[in-house]
Amino acid sequence: MPLKTGGFSMSTETAEEVTLKPKDFATDQDVRWCPGCGDYSILKQVQSIMPSLGKDKEDIVFISGIGCSSRFPYYMDTYGMHSIHGRATAIASGLKISRPELSVWIITGDGDSLSIGGNHLIHMMRRNFDVNVLLFNNEIYGLTKGQYSPTSPEGKITKSTPIGSIDHPFNPLKLCMGADSTFIARTMDRDPKHQREILLRGSQHVGTSMIEIYQNCNVFNDGAFEVYTNKQTKEDETLYLEQGKPLIFGKEKDQGIKLDGSNPTVVSLSDVSEDELWVHDEHDKFKAQLLTTFFDNPADENHLPRPFGVFYSEDRFRYEEAAQAQTEEATEKKGKGDLEVLLRGKNVWKVGD
């Protein structure tokens, strides 16, 4: 039982050994979410992609804050911590800096990450640790039994807003874009296939992968994402992003998005030819910024559809690598630290003999 710590060795070293199945990642704890909660599906998809990480279980860590979603680590048979409200990102930062070789996953809710944890989230984005953030967005505080959250729509009636919320909600992906995130994606609990795909993409991205997952809280906010999931409306309301493909959506795949100047507009393919359409390029930071603003209320007249998929990905140095490099650089320059020399300092004098 080798204790692996520090260094980047093992991820490769173990790659071949791995022969894990999704069920190997389940724990003996019974899952304590409400029947019908969207969290179940996410748990299942996450477990299903774990083997593909090419990591041993002992090299994977799940860290969560507090919330229904944050119960998650108890159900993953890896190392894990169910920490305090809003701080999973901060805790993961310290872990990742000191153990860069680990695969670190942050599980957080919309309240956990955007209300009390907002500051740590945006700082994590800019520092770009190589970790994965799964934001379970159910637009409500579940665990505390139904107060509105920073993603709840204006006017939302909840226990704490009996005559409607007057908070203009955050657009989580736009916020993260503003914080210079290097990977931004959206998926939802009700689309397992897409979820797995995005989770995989996130796990492969080297840097902070911000994945927003629309999750239905069937007890306190049932149907929040109905329009994106039900047969009648979903094709018209969702826009699935695919690299290099034009932005097309709709039941008949007959609508597209065109950029005139910097304004995205919905066009009908009967009037506009495909090659005039906006072609998705997840490496285009300008386009990605515009995409994050596709956040209209489906009730509005000629609104834009809601995008799902990878909005943006960029390769930027990771904080923990830079930190590691500085350690090595310092060691090269000054040589490995010698405690005796350090304690002596430069100006020593003798007393007596």
Binding site: M1, E58, F62, S83, G94, L102, N119
Partner: protein, 609 residues
């Protein structure tokens, strides 16, 4: 000309000037030189609160007090023998400190009309006879410096920057000290800038020779080397010692040091120091706030590292919730509080001991943590080392208390050899038995399994846990059991602590003085002085405030009265009264400045009657 040399046992000097005058540097150089010579020494820098308050004003005065001697020196001194004042404001602020018939060295150029006005003087103190009972040495330091560098081709502004070297040289002459140490320093500091090196050394020597040639005074002083414990010494500041203590603990425990912190006066220097030593495997992380800082060390500690964070009052307040998490997780980490004047933002640049009860009780729920305090600048090393040892060997967050006074103060340090430092043994989980995260040894300490250890995957969190398995448990009896186990685990640390002992003075008698933290030196001095006067008084210093040494009760029983001097309203007093039901009386000073020896002596005498 020949001058007589007068012997002195100890001398206290205050350097004072505008924050631009390089006072701190002058003081530090004079300190190092005397330290190297072999004096015992204690210093107390006194910065202005503002980054750079208006020049020449009282608010802008920077001071550096030091006491050096051929005898043991445990405090920077109550009042000074020599006051060096670079301008009128500096004089005004520090003159009250000067002993009757003491010596004052004035930079006359700093007493012109403008300076006097800025300092709020109607008339110059040089003319108005306030100095009649003192020995005054007036030097136009500016003029002297400029003449010394007249042909240097440097600009006035640049030239004036080296005025402090003139004063330093003058004092080296006065106490007949060697210039070489400072010359070396100048060469390092301005490495590459030959003209600056020459200029500064020239001014330094000019000051020295000025002393030699001038008629200003007829006697020099000699302060023999002190009879310190034999060994090798260096001079060290408190925060620096803390940093070295952490690195030492990291090296001796084999755990990399992860230091996550957010800047705050007076704790920031620990971060600055550690950031210089990355080649010791130290990783420093300047977090976005204090909460992120302590959370980052919780993450690092979960990852198997030695996690340490430091802050001061307001920042410590923000860490309370996360300390509770670290405590219930039972992960090793150290939280350092370099205390400053409170409440709230309070007096950021002043010292105080008013965060003790916060350290002991300032968390929600039953969340006991060991609390240990450093007693002097060099002791910060030992205290930091011990804090890490307890944290690692007992799997718990530990609070280490320091304060602005010792953090910025300095003293000679008989530094240890690494091999003489106690081993630190992490409680790493091993073997292939199924790992139960909250299974404990005879000291109730759990094993530490970290990511990367195969087969020991486990989940821990802030909810109450079932004994041994650590699974979430809402069982009433289990909760009570766990609360008691966690408390008992901390109490058991006392078993491995040295028994409390009378540090100085009588083993039994009239008055027992109990102290903690940075008041050590002044209490020691006061108690010794009282003993010399035949008063029956003893001194117990408490390094460990929670848990307390087992035998403290016995020591207390041997005295009629117990007094507890603190730079707060009586916080240790409360703990002692509650624990031992003894009528301990507080001697309290809440002025942002340390006790004077006299204040403690008086307190002891009053009690005795």
């Amino acid at each position: 000309m020949v001058k007589e040399v007068e012997e002195k046992r100890e001398v206290t000097i205050v350097f004072a000037g505008d924050s631009g005058d390089g006072i701190q540097l002058t003081g530090t150089q004079f300190t190092n030189t005397n330290a190297l010579f072999g004096n015992d020494i204690s210093t107390f820098p006194n910065y202005p609160a503002e980054i750079r308050a208006p020049q020449g004003t009282v608010a802008g005065v920077s001071g550096f007090q030091l006491k050096f001697g051929s005898v043991e020196v445990a405090t920077p001194g109550d009042s000074c023998d020599v006051l060096v004042a670079m301008n009128a404001a500096a004089f005004k602020v520090n003159f009250p400190r000067l002993k009757k018939h003491g010596t004052v060295i004035l930079n006359t150029d700093g007493f012109n009309a403008r300076n006097l006005k800025l300092a709020g003087y109607e008339e110059s103190p040089i003319e108005d006879h306030s100095l009649d009972d003192y020995r005054t040495i007036q030097i136009d330091v500016t003029k002297m410096t400029r003449t010394a560098l007249v042909d240097s081709g440097m600009g006035k502004k640049e030239i004036d920057r080296s005025r402090n070297m003139f004063v330093l040289g003058f004092l080296y002459y006065m106490y007949n000290r060697d210039l070489r140490g400072t010359e070396e320093f100048i060469k390092q500091k301005f490495a590459g800038k030959k003209d600056l090196i020459d200029a500064n050394i020239r001014v330094l020597k000019a000051g020295y020779h000025f002393g030699d040639t001038s008629e200003t005074f007829t006697s020099r002083y000699n302060v023999k080397a002190a009879q310190l414990k034999a060994g090798e010494y260096r001079s060290i500041m408190g925060n620096q010692a803390t940093a070295l203590g952490l690195i030492a603990a990291s090296q001796k425990s084999g755990l990399d040091l992860f230091y996550g912190s957010y800047p705050i006066t007076p704790a920031s220097d620990i971060l600055h120091e550690l950031a210089k030593h990355k080649n010791f495997g130290v990783k420093t992380f300047q977090a976005e706030d204090e909460i992120a800082a302590i959370c980052s060390i919780i993450g690092a500690s979960f990852g198997g590292k030695l996690g340490v964070t430091a802050s001061s009052g307001p920042g410590i307040a923000l860490k309370g919730e996360a300390m509770g998490l670290g405590m219930i997780l039972e992960l090793p980490m150290v939280v350092i509080n370099v205390q400053r004047g409170g409440p709230s933002t309070g007096l950021p640049t002043k010292t105080e001991q008013a965060d003790l009860l916060q350290a002991v009780y300032g968390r929600n729920g039953e969340a006991p943590m060991p609390v240990i305090a450093a007693k002097s600048p060099s002791d910060c090393f030992q205290a930091a080392y011990e804090a890490c040892q307890i944290a690692i060997e007992h799997m718990t967050p530990v609070i280490l208390l320091s304060d602005g006074y010792i953090a910025n103060g300095s003293e000679p340090w008989n530094f240890p050899h690494p091999k003489d430092l106690k081993k630190i043994k992490p409680k790493m989980a091993s073997g292939d038995a199924t790992y139960l995260p909250y299974k404990r040894d005879e000291n109730l300490v759990r094993d530490w399994a970290i990511p990367g250890q195969k087969g020991k995957e486990h989940r821990i969190g802030g909810l109450e846990k079932e004994d041994e398995t650590g699974n979430v448990s809402y069982d009433p009896e289990n909760h009570e059991k766990m609360v008691k186990i966690r408390a008992e685990k901390i109490n058991k640390i006392a078993d491995s602590l040295p028994a409390a002992a009378i540090d100085h003075g009588k083993e039994k008698g009239d008055v027992l003085v109990i102290g903690w933290g940075s008041t050590f030196g002044v209490i020691k001095t006061a108690v010794n002085q009282c003993c010399d006067e035949g008063i029956s008084v003893g001194h117990v210093h408490l390094r460990h405030i929670h848990p307390m040494p087992h035998n403290l009760a016995e020591l207390i029983k041997n005295f009629k009265h117990v007094i507890i001097p603190e730079m707060n309203s009586g916080q240790l007093s409360k703990l002692i009264r509650e624990k031992f039901l003894v009528n301990a009386e507080g001697i309290n000073k809440i002025q942002g400045v340390p006790f004077s020896t006299q204040e403690i002596v008086d307190a002891i005498k009053n009690r005795r009657l």
